[in-house]
């Protein structure tokens, strides 16, 4: 596991960072990565954005749901809207968040602080995590004035490795969240928002972990 951490430069970053929230995040992460996989607290996340480019587009909402002992904790599932500069414009068609709904939203700075607090002591999980992480890292370095490197399990990458191991040739779209869920007999969710997709991603992860077999022997490296 230390290899993963070194690769991210986590030790180095933890020592260097000034921001207390980010310092805590690194410290807790280094600790929990030593646990057995089944014992690692995780946090499934999903974002809605105004577009796909982290340099220009902004985060609209964040959904999170913690996973403890292999079970999603609905009591601690949360959904936060984030206020943005300008209008949601055309992207409202996809995520359904309208400008007037953003009135009670958190400011980006509040949102990033809240997110770092929630992430503390959890291993992040997302479907196609590089995109979500890019937005979060961008947002944090912008609003908390401190560069950050986040670590997340990518359920898409887990699935891709599994399919490749089975020597399956996969077609376009087979790694999409809905398609992956179908392979595990998970229900179809028609509604979409950051929270529902975070739940959908979390469920996929526990299904993937169940498929890997003996829970006691798995370590976090099995997910990377």
């Amino acid at each position: 596991m230390n290899a993963i951490l070194s690769k991210l430069g986590l030790f180095w970053r933890a020592w260097r960072t000034q921001h207390p929230l980010i310092k805590d995040y690194y410290a807790e992460l280094a600790k929990l990565l030593q646990y057995k996989l089944a014992d690692i607290p995780m946090l499934a996340i999903d974002l809605e954005m105004t577009g796909l480019d982290p340099a220009f587009d902004q985060i609209l909402s964040i959904g999170i749901v913690p996973i403890k002992n292999g079970q999603l904790q609905m009591a601690k599932a949360q959904h936060k809207l984030v206020s943005i500069d300008g209008s949601v414009g055309q992207s409202a068609v996809i995520h359904g968040i309208l400008d007037n709904q953003l009135q009670d939203a958190l400011s980006p700075e509040q949102a990033m602080q809240w997110f770092m607090q929630q992430s503390k002591g959890h291993l992040l999980v997302a479907h196609h995590s590089p995109l979500d992480l890019a937005f979060l890292e961008q947002g944090i370095s912008l609003h908390l004035a401190e560069p950050v490197k986040l670590l997340a399990v990518d359920t898409l990458a887990v699935e891709k490795r599994r399919l490749l191991r089975q020597q399956e040739v996969f077609k376009e779209g087979e790694l999409r969240l809905g398609a992956c869920r179908e392979r595990y007999n998970l229900p179809v969710y028609n509604a979409h928002n950051a929270l529902i997709d975070a739940i959908a991603c979390g469920e996929l992860l526990i299904a993937q972990m169940a498929a890997m077999g003996d829970g006691d022997k798995l370590t976090v490296t099995d997910l990377f």
């Binding site: 292999g70 904790q73 609905m74 959904h79 509604a191 529902i196 739940i199 498929a211």
Partner: protein, 615 residues
């Protein structure tokens, strides 16, 4: 937080009894309290934490509840619950939950569960009732018989015939004659004193030389065995056979309210088929027979909705067909006169196997004892034409392949039939065999049994142990495989772009029929009904016990699915077909169906190994 945020979960729960009785607020609180877990078949059982009982709500997947002895208590699929007995009783968890198919499960903690029970009476009552049922139904998957569940009150004769204790036996006999019953209750001041039956009149009056003036109380059976009207029919049957009696007075609150006889029970067990067959026997012309035959689809529906076993349904429907056929032969013989030669009416295919269902066509032939002269030719032609036409009018349409007794080709003497079969057996060309296989499922519906035996014995003597012929038959039956794809997914039939579903008949039951036929011909078994063939093969140790039971179960399950699907199509005014859409099934049933097809697949592999040498 907005109520709609957990919409997929609240939508699911609010469609479930008893969660549908909860207020919105209570439902939201419930959604918020859930934890979500996933259970994989590979881990075998759901790990249940003794110290933390929870309510488990199945979201997807399939599970089996088994008690300490490993007996099946319940099967669960989407929207079913487990774990509630120990939540309610506080007892230790005693059942085990076996995972049949991977699935997502919601967990609800005891505090929220109890909060919801307080919140909604219906919620509370639902789980209490489910708990009571679970306790009662420990053996529910063993056998489901109507006799065990029905109450006596549904079958008994109400307002029973009574007579005063001081009347004479002649009066009693007259009363029984006038009301056409076989017993009368003897009462004194509204109180039951005894029962007087036909048997008592014979044994205690006539046999002893008494005359009709004997008072009833000297002839009656005193303090007879009685039951109350809420007792189960099953208990009445038990009592009757234990005490060797045929009449039971029914007493509620000390007063006689009815009588139940063994005939009542018999009638209650299979009312409609027996009545229908009785009615067929009574009809004296074709028109009235056609009229009676209109009840057959209804009979099928009743049997399906009564959840009868598919094998029984097939046997019942076939016995109706047999009765119709026999009645048509008898009626036409009344017109045409006695037959010049002894003959047998042969039934082939599904009627032969006794597994007819909706919309069967006729497959039959005629076996005549000796050479037919011109007069006999004419007689049998007229007879068979009339019977086949009659069957057609009664809903058994003409056979598209023209395998009917009215076709001179299938109206033959014993020697001709024997030669025909010999030809098939000795020159087993695949194409010819495919068409001929239905002839090997033959049964005599009318006529001389010994004549039929001489044909069947001859055929079986030829097929028994005949490797080349059996290889041909086996090869034929392996042409079609069950509808399972590579990853055990269902393969659906398509008609152009339209998806028709799984063909349960041709890709399911027909394959099992084929397998059983090859083995039966190999062993020289006379039975043609598939279930009975399998049973006999098991007894002869030709198929091992486990495989035979699996195959018989698969046969029953697929046939049951086909019938209930047809029942559904019929009641929804859809075209009745053999096609089933797997999406309409719960994942539990899908799982079972997959297993059934897997059994067929394995049996085919066994058949291939035993009879064909192409490997």
């Amino acid at each position: 937080m907005d109520a709609s945020e957990l919409q997929p979960i609240s939508d699911f729960l609010s469609a479930l009894t008893p969660f549908d009785s909860l207020s919105d607020a209570a439902l939201q609180r419930c959604c918020r309290a859930l934890t979500i877990g996933y259970y994989s078949k590979a881990s075998g059982y759901v790990p249940l934490d003794e110290d933390h009982p929870q309510l488990y709500i199945v979201r997807t997947g399939a599970f089996e509840v088994r008690n300490q002895d490993g007996e099946l208590v319940d099967r669960l699929g989407d929207g079913d619950y487990f774990g509630f007995p120990s939540l309610l009783s506080g007892d230790k968890i005693s059942n085990r939950i076996q995972i049949l198919e991977d699935g997502l499960v919601y967990h609800l903690d005891p505090d929220t569960f109890n909060f919801l029970r307080n919140e909604s009476r219906e919620f509370d009552r639902f789980f209490n009732r489910a708990y009571a049922q679970r306790m009662r139904h420990q053996g529910r998957f063993k056998a489901k018989e109507m006799a065990t569940t029905n109450r006596i009150s549904t079958l008994m004769t109400k307002q029973p015939l009574t007579i005063d204790v001081n009347a004479c036996v002649a009066d009693a006999a007259r009363l029984m004659r006038d009301n056409r019953v076989s017993s009368v209750l003897v009462i004194d001041n509204q109180q039951l004193k005894g029962i007087l039956t036909d048997r008592d009149l014979r044994n205690r009056v006539i046999a002893l030389g008494h005359d009709g003036q004997l008072p009833v109380h000297q002839a009656m059976t005193t303090s007879p065995t009685v039951l109350n009207s809420q007792a189960l029919v099953f208990e009445a049957m038990l009592l009757m056979s234990e005490c060797n009696i045929h009449h039971l007075p029914i007493i509620d609150d000390g007063e006689p309210v009815g009588v139940i006889t063994s005939t009542d029970i018999l009638r209650g067990q299979s009312t409609q088929p027996l009545l229908l067959i009785g009615e067929i026997e009574r009809q004296s012309n074709l028109e009235s027979l056609i009229n009676v035959s209109k009840q057959i689809p209804l009979l099928l529906q009743n049997l399906i909705s009564a959840d009868a076993r598919a094998e029984e349904i097939g046997r019942v429907l076939t016995s109706v067909t047999d009765a119709l056929t026999r009645r048509l032969i008898v009626l036409n013989q009344q017109i045409l006169g006695e037959a010049p030669l002894a003959f047998c009416w042969l039934a082939f295919g599904s009627q032969g196997r006794q597994d007819q269902a909706a919309c069967s066509d006729q497959d039959n032939g005629l076996l005549v004892a000796g050479e037919m002269d011109e007069h006999a030719q004419g007689y049998f032609e007229a007879l068979t034409k009339a019977v086949c036409q009659g069957l057609d009018s009664c809903g058994y349409v003409y056979c598209p392949g023209d395998i009917m007794a009215q076709n001179p080709k299938w109206r033959m003497t014993l020697t001709q039939w024997q030669q025909k079969f010999e030809h098939w057996v000795k020159q087993p060309e695949p194409k010819a065999l495919m068409h001929a296989s239905i002839f090997f499922d033959m049964r005599c519906v009318f006529g001389s049994a010994s004549l039929f035996d001489s044909l069947q014995d001859h055929v079986l003597a030829n097929t028994k142990g005949n490797d080349i012929f059996l290889a041909g038959m086996a090869g034929n039956s392996l042409q079609v495989s069950p509808p399972l794809g590579f990853f055990k997914k269902f393969v659906l039939e398509r008609d152009g772009s339209e998806v028709k579903g799984i063909d349960l008949k041709h890709k399911g039951n027909a394959l099992i029929n084929d397998i059983a036929r090859v083995y039966a011909l190999f062993a020289g078994i006379k039975e043609v009904n598939t279930a009975k063939r399998i049973r006999e093969l098991m007894q002869l140790n030709i198929i091992n016990r486990k495989d035979a039971l699996n195959l018989a179960d698969a046969h029953e399950f697929i046939a049951h699915m086909r019938l209930s699907n047809q029942g559904y199509q019929y009641t929804h005014n859809e075209t009745v077909s053999n096609y089933l859409m797997p999406q309409q099934l719960s994942s539990l049933v899908r799982h079972q169906l997959r297993d059934a097809f897997k059994v067929v697949h394995d049996a085919q592999a066994g058949l291939k190994l035993k009879f064909t040498r192409s490997f």
